[in-house]
Symmetry: C2
Subunit: 437 residues, 2 copies
């Protein structure tokens, strides 16, 4: 565990760099009357982004695709307009920096991502990315200079397993794995302007970041159902992506008697049902999903000889994730024996649960109170770049409501007033963190 | 039912055209000593064909693809070498003709197809097509002139639902349906040299064909398991392709609680298991297969919002096919209600069981006896162009063994001696039919 406690770090920094008597403390200003970001501007940028990678099925800006590159180009333009001379680090992340009054301090980092899932929505990622740009721009335009440098980062390939942020914290990544765009990470990182020969240069060591705060849509329906405005994230669930290959034998669907078959599709169907029954067999918030399934040859009159599928398994409790992964493996072996097929399991991606820093949760709540916004503490069922950053610095996340709890869907939507609230929340949280870190 | 009885027709023809005193009767020759085709030549052509459309996954000459066009070009060359000046009819079928001594008689038609399934084998189709060319070539080279004209036909797009032969017998076909190659039938028929504006010209009315005989690999394992050389086909099972669309709601796999889901993949899995259990719940040779399944968006961290799948259902008893189709529909409605998804059913392709003509079965068995080959009567679990021809003329089929019963697979194989036996059988059956029809 490389995670560090925020309060301990805050104390250390307080000793090294006490509040200066320089420009008027942002903290004092924020507590007296909260700062405001330009929410209309963020909503406008989101509306422009909505036309990039929009297809009949939804937003398709999968990492390293042409649409992803186009979305990043639009985002780079926003960085430049904000005065954040952006650079692309070796991992393909977009990085902009606003200098602080105390250059020796490590930066406060804010940001999110702009790549999407297949047939996704326009708010998952762009909201937090654009709000972070807006926070830097507002601070600059309003003449509010932080003590810490402020870095705005748009992480590359979040939806493919937080690849850009993993590389930024030095986590191992299989560069030969294939992204949704069909490109390997090795190819894709080059396409978005990274340099795989210099990945080490993109690594941020522990202690090099004061804290990381990310604004994101909730992607679930708790805030919307409860009529609340802001979610204070307690932690991010651990995620396991298990790739399963089921091998049977391809044969003619008309001439092969039912008893002579080794039908990989039937085995995959039984497994999908069994995974669902298992995950629901005990109380708790754990989830498991078979969302991807590719039969071969996938034709009407041929018994499937092979099925590749993936299980997405999540919970805040790492031990529970481990236990269910083992149970799924056991179910696969049983079904394989019963259907004369063979199951092979591989863990494609795995992340430990990541807990938010309690002091950041407090200052997020303080910001909401100052802005007059209602809050609820909640876990994040989705993975985020913040979980990677939590390995090297104190981390916090701010959620705003998703209408109907819909996400990873073309119907994903967050109301303009909630977008504006999110930008205000991020701005005030950054200003408060600046005085505490 | 437009099917006609062979014996009735034979009697009618016998009256109209009694055996002439012209060239020595082929029948007499065949019964005295069976004719021989050049089996080595057929095996050589199959070996050449094996390189066309061969990929890592198997033979891919799906209808209207570039590989299909290449396979047809090779086949057209064989027609020309055999002296069968080939033409392409409006439906895209390749037709060659050898004139008989009695030009007023309707033709005996023999043939098969050369298109393949996805990742299929090299014998399903080409064997019967090339053997038919060889029969015409042998007759010509050996100076055996039939009374009837002999037509060799390679039907287009057999694997997509016997499209070429359906059009040739005037069956309705949806020209806007999409073939495996991604092209509509409308586009594809043009690609292979047909002319959709003149489809009526390709229709063969009832009574215009003396009889149809097709040689094919068995595609099942009965002959191979029993150590027999020739299958005498009793009939072809009825086939129903049922397309099922399951609509749920696409949402985030991490943030959507298990109880709030409308998971189309889970519904599809339950349905696939239910279809398998239903078809096996009563005795008989009926088969049902889910071989094609396409989830949307088909990505690891999104609950599937939609699944398109197809059920392949077959039996020799048309009423049983009807009954199971209704049962599957009922199962879909039940599973839809339980999973909050909606099931929509559409019959994509449907063919009635087609019975072989008893007199053709007899003369096929007579040919085998003359050639010293062992036989067994059997149904065909696979669909064939012969089932369409059965609507306008007496029909028969000859099977040779598939090693291990494997078909629609790159491991599909028929031994060279069985290929040669098949060509000999087809030659002698044609000669015997010529004296009977």
């Amino acid at each position: 565990m490389r995670r560090r406690e925020f309060l301990g770090r805050a104390a250390a920094f307080a000793a090294a760099a006490p509040l200066s008597s320089g420009p008027i403390s942002s903290l004092a200003r924020a507590q007296a009357a909260p700062l405001r970001a330009d929410g209309a501007r963020v909503n406008g940028w989101l509306a422009q982004m909505d036309s990039i990678g929009r297809t009949a099925g939804g937003i398709n800006r999968v990492a390293y695709s042409e649409a992803d590159v186009a979305g990043r180009a639009f985002t780079l333009g926003l960085f430049r307009q904000a005065g954040l001379a952006p650079r692309i680090d070796a991992a393909g992340n977009i990085v902009g920096r606003l200098e602080g009054t105390q250059p020796s301090l490590p930066p406060i980092v804010i940001g999110s991502h702009v790549d999407s899932v297949t047939d996704g929505g326009n708010f998952d990622g762009p909201l937090g990315s654009f709000a972070a740009v807006e926070v830097a721009r507002s601070l600059r335009e309003q003449g509010n200079r932080l003590r810490h440098p402020l870095e705005v980062v748009v992480w590359s390939n979040e939806e493919g397993g937080t690849i850009g942020s993993k590389l930024a914290v030095g986590e191992p990544v299989d560069l030969d794995s294939v992204a949704r765009s069909g490109k390997t990470l090795r190819e894709g990182i080059g396409i978005v302007g990274g340099d795989i020969a210099k990945l080490e240069a993109a690594v941020r060591p522990e202690g090099s970041v004061a804290c990381y705060i990310e604004l994101h849509i909730e992607q679930g329906g708790r805030l919307d159902q409860a009529g609340l405005q802001v979610g204070v994230v307690e932690g991010i669930v651990g995620l396991r992506w298990i790739e399963v290959v089921i091998e049977g034998f391809a044969n003619h669907a008309g001439t092969t008697p039912m008893d002579d078959r080794r039908d990989a599709m039937l085995a995959a169907a039984r497994f999908t049902v069994a995974v669902n029954e298992a995950i629901r067999s005990e109380p708790g918030r754990q989830v498991a999903t078979v969302g991807r399934l590719v039969p071969t040859p996938n034709t009407r009159n041929v018994i499937a000889g092979r099925v590749d599928l993936a299980v997405d398994l999540r919970d805040l409790d790492a031990a529970k994730v481990e236990r269910f992964a083992a149970r799924f493996r056991h179910l696969g072996q049983e079904i394989g024996a019963a259907t004369q097929t063979t199951f092979t399991f591989r863990d494609a991606t795995s992340s430990r649960p990541a807990m938010s820093d309690p002091a950041i949760m407090d200052l997020v709540e303080g910001s909401a109170r100052a802005l007059g916004l209602s809050t609820q503490r909640m876990p994040s069922g989705a993975g985020h770049d913040a979980q990677e950053l939590a390995q090297i610095c104190p981390m916090g996340m701010i959620f705003v409501p998703s209408v109907g709890g819909i996400s990873h869907s073309p119907r994903e939507f967050t109301k303009p007033e909630d977008v504006a609230n999110g930008a205000d929340m991020l701005l005030n949280a950054v200003v408060r963190a600046d005085t505490r870190v």
